[in-house]
Symmetry: C4
Amino acid sequence: MTAITVPELSPVTRTWLTVCLWCCFCFFLVELLIKAWPKPNSKTASTYLLSASGVIDLMAVLPIPLVLLIGVPANTAWVLASLWLLKLTAFVPGLALLGRVVALEARPLASVLVIFLTVLLFAGVALHILERAGQPERFGSLPQSLWWAVSTLTTTGYGDSVPQTFLGRVIAGIVMICGLGVFGLWTGILATGFSAEHRRRDFIQNWGLVTRVPFLRNLDPPAIIELTHMLRRLDLAERTIVVRRGRPGDCMYFIASGEVEVKVEPRPIRLSGGAFFGEIALLEGGPRTATVVTTLPSTLLVLDVSNFRVFMANHPDLAKEVEMEAARRERSNESVLPEEQ
Amino acid sequence: MTAITVPELSPVTRTWLTVCLWCCFCFFLVELLIKAWPKPNSKTASTYLLSASGVIDLMAVLPIPLVLLIGVPANTAWVLASLWLLKLTAFVPGLALLGRVVALEARPLASVLVIFLTVLLFAGVALHILERAGQPERFGSLPQSLWWAVSTLTTTGYGDSVPQTFLGRVIAGIVMICGLGVFGLWTGILATGFSAEHRRRDFIQNWGLVTRVPFLRNLDPPAIIELTHMLRRLDLAERTIVVRRGRPGDCMYFIASGEVEVKVEPRPIRLSGGAFFGEIALLEGGPRTATVVTTLPSTLLVLDVSNFRVFMANHPDLAKEVEMEAARRERSNESVLPEEQ
Amino acid sequence: MTAITVPELSPVTRTWLTVCLWCCFCFFLVELLIKAWPKPNSKTASTYLLSASGVIDLMAVLPIPLVLLIGVPANTAWVLASLWLLKLTAFVPGLALLGRVVALEARPLASVLVIFLTVLLFAGVALHILERAGQPERFGSLPQSLWWAVSTLTTTGYGDSVPQTFLGRVIAGIVMICGLGVFGLWTGILATGFSAEHRRRDFIQNWGLVTRVPFLRNLDPPAIIELTHMLRRLDLAERTIVVRRGRPGDCMYFIASGEVEVKVEPRPIRLSGGAFFGEIALLEGGPRTATVVTTLPSTLLVLDVSNFRVFMANHPDLAKEVEMEAARRERSNESVLPEEQ
Amino acid sequence: MTAITVPELSPVTRTWLTVCLWCCFCFFLVELLIKAWPKPNSKTASTYLLSASGVIDLMAVLPIPLVLLIGVPANTAWVLASLWLLKLTAFVPGLALLGRVVALEARPLASVLVIFLTVLLFAGVALHILERAGQPERFGSLPQSLWWAVSTLTTTGYGDSVPQTFLGRVIAGIVMICGLGVFGLWTGILATGFSAEHRRRDFIQNWGLVTRVPFLRNLDPPAIIELTHMLRRLDLAERTIVVRRGRPGDCMYFIASGEVEVKVEPRPIRLSGGAFFGEIALLEGGPRTATVVTTLPSTLLVLDVSNFRVFMANHPDLAKEVEMEAARRERSNESVLPEEQ
């Protein structure tokens, strides 16, 4: 869609692009009508139009004909097609996450913003006073001076207005250093909040998956918590190779849902939800002893070798159980077997 | 106030703005007089004028008439109205926090500043020597060269003075990379300190609130500490909806002060300070079973679902108590009940 | 190689450089032939050419003669010699690590990228609408406007296109601040992921080394895990001085492999794999009592004084053992002795 | 010294500045002679001249007369006075710290540098190929193109060379985003390493101080470790006010060395090394009950209220002891008393 929006001002292919744009427009119009129409008895039409997604759908359709009616030239009108991008945002989980982070960290972020604005204003006023005489067309008014200040404080540095006096440059240098500081605070708050939110969401998702694995569900609660923090979710499509025979092994897998096939010699073995595999390479430090392929779309939980060792060290009884299972599998000359039989 | 300060240089509406500014000025003057006057017997007037807020109030009032008396044109004089912004800073908790962070991290920050200044000086001297011949008007003196260095080292890059020789550009490249490094140190120190201070302040606030909830107060001290780190404070106005029936539940609430109303069928139930609610959705993983609204301005402590699970796993007796309470509430066909009866 | 690539456009030394470049070219060609040729019976030739390193080797050899054949001037053709740099990347562990980080953090990074692109597009559209009238040659088309937006949002700030209207500048200021925010998120995610990956890789490496030291191998598993996190690997060449007599001591050493010589008076003592040294300075807080030099290429595990104290506090029996060994060494008037005798 | 170096190119005061500079020069010369001369029997003179500080002292003295002899004009020669700044670096602990961080994190930093250089070279080559035709004077050679690339990748953005083609701008946009990423990695590694080093150094310093306080020395080792991480060192001059009566109390103090005076009514009490004070305000949540002033230069260990609560919760016996001491002090109607009597 961006590609369509962007070249709409190129000279020759304009007609084709306009056709494409009208097609998109019609598609969105029809989508809106279908969503708003079918149940006239209930009040869903108005509810939908007033909800967030309804407003976005309306904004994708309404403004373009409106501005065309007013008499704005078509080139300009199609710029509004960029509003279609808003429809994409519904599919992006990151935006919801970012919203939550901003809401939770609102107070420190606001503090930094106030500091930013204070430095901005004082820098603007100082440069206005200092540089007004020398460069009236650049620092002659406070808004012009603030424009310089914002471009300097964010270390953007357009270079369209630059202080010339000695004192002005000293202040500019201090403003730049303050800019780095403000930036640092902002960075730190957002980055910390974002990663904390991500960990939190992963924890909640993994918790739901861990409780589906019988072998893990029977651990005592603190161990489940510890393990949930260690596991990483892996969603795989059908017929994907999970581990390949002979490659070095650096993690083991629990099957939360789906099914995998272990390519061992006499005949392949199928493992389904609740089983685990890949522990032999971790215990013995050698390469993978068999290739494993998913047969259904599967959700696996990955336990990294470093976390595996930490967890096994803290839970010796579990370690013994995993080792026994691995020994049994190797004894029967088959690399991987379902754990419950 | 910023809005008033900024457009004071626009042409036509100047008279109105001047009137507004004089009004503000009079307001601050009267405020100052009231604060300094009324108790002439005590020595508060001079104490107040010498305190931080007194100095700020004085600075908001004194300079403008002074510079007008000297004969500075009015436009220029009003620039001093930006000093009024200082009065706002008293209301910003972030500034106090930032001050504390800077005080605590003074030594590493000073170290980085020294590194910054050293790199700055050497870059300035090197470029002065290298570029002097080619661009005497830009690198002909050390201050000019240092101006280039500060604008490069902070990655602002105005582009008003740019090295032209090969060696000069190599050094400029190294200076930019050093700039990123210095920036990184600065960022890291400030961000770490700021977030540590925030956590500390939240801990102290939450500790005070936790001890008001009887159910939590009776925990053993390490558990209280653990919980205090997990809780998040939430201040709500009267008649705010806390949870909405049917929405997914991702946290439970303890009431530190105030009162909430649970909208259950036979008749709504009121919960006041010390009670908790919202635990049923967490225990059963389902949606909220009732809407809860505050009836008074309330302070709630929010326990997130991920922290809830960690805490319940570490404190099985408490988990049992919460589960029993939830079961009792559900049995009596009412979603939420006060815990103490 | 970079040095060769870069000055290839300087005037006089061109002939010599071309000779050098042809030498490099021949070297890579021969290397490619050797790798692809010798085993014609197996299918290694085609396998190799289709593997990642084969493709890189091909890209180092093929393009230059090809473009010379097409008739491109030699100067231009040699620019393709920069593809040789790709051969270097195979030796850089950091790139593999970075790849892993990007793969693991793909979802948050993609979220941030979407946020970045959304802000970019809206800033571009807004400035296009606002500045089109005043600066048609700079903001007259959306691509031009997006060019401004990307240069502003990344705080690069070329200054070739700068908004002139008041509203345009206000939006530009907001875009810069958003840029800092986006930047912060990006920074935070990458930096966190990179350092986590590094810790993980160090842990796996150290684990392998710790299990070679008998004194440490007999610890209980949680202690091994704790210690593995604390140790730092140090690879030293033959005849390197590890500690120097009289210097302050801030760490102790375990020998994972290799051999060291302790310069004590009657005759130097040799310590080999499994022994430890340097603990006396930590226990007594004094300077090093002897100089230690490696006699073979050695891998040491370094335990810092702060970690040493934490570990000894948590494992009093181990502390006693280390103290006894130190006392025995001092009693026999020799600073360091092999532990197993 | 910077002040002297910088304005040395201003017109009129040149003579005075030259005199100042010659004085400094003579001072450094004399210092060098004194350090190198007095013990001719030992080999300290040559040892000193070959040591790091000797080389720096030499560099402060030698180059200026040398270049004056060669016939360089005096203005230029004095630029070398900036080498005097190197003498300052010996007093900056941060530089040693930074050196350690860079040494420890050398491998990840080198990885990022290689990534940086790879992106740099490919961006330079790409823009050289794309923009050569349109802007031969800016992108006509690889070095020029690399200059653009380094200024863009570090987000400095001078704006002296800017891509004009569509594809060139797309690549420039990608380079800027890569720049943010590289920057982020760099920032993360340095900041993490720097703060880890600071924590480590503080731990080592605090450990030495904690063992001087009898009340803390008798804790079991893990508790000492925990407390050492919590304490913050505070060095105070003679007659400094530590706490002021009536102010809110947010920390307690242990005296590592020195002496303080507690201003209580009948007669002030002196507390010396090993005692603690300030715990009453923390236990009761009220304001400080007495003013405390140092009588000698003192080193205090500060325990913050949040850490105080965590520590007391984990060590109930210690909590009881502190509470008993506080109660005894209050009972005897004196706010603070030495603990050992």
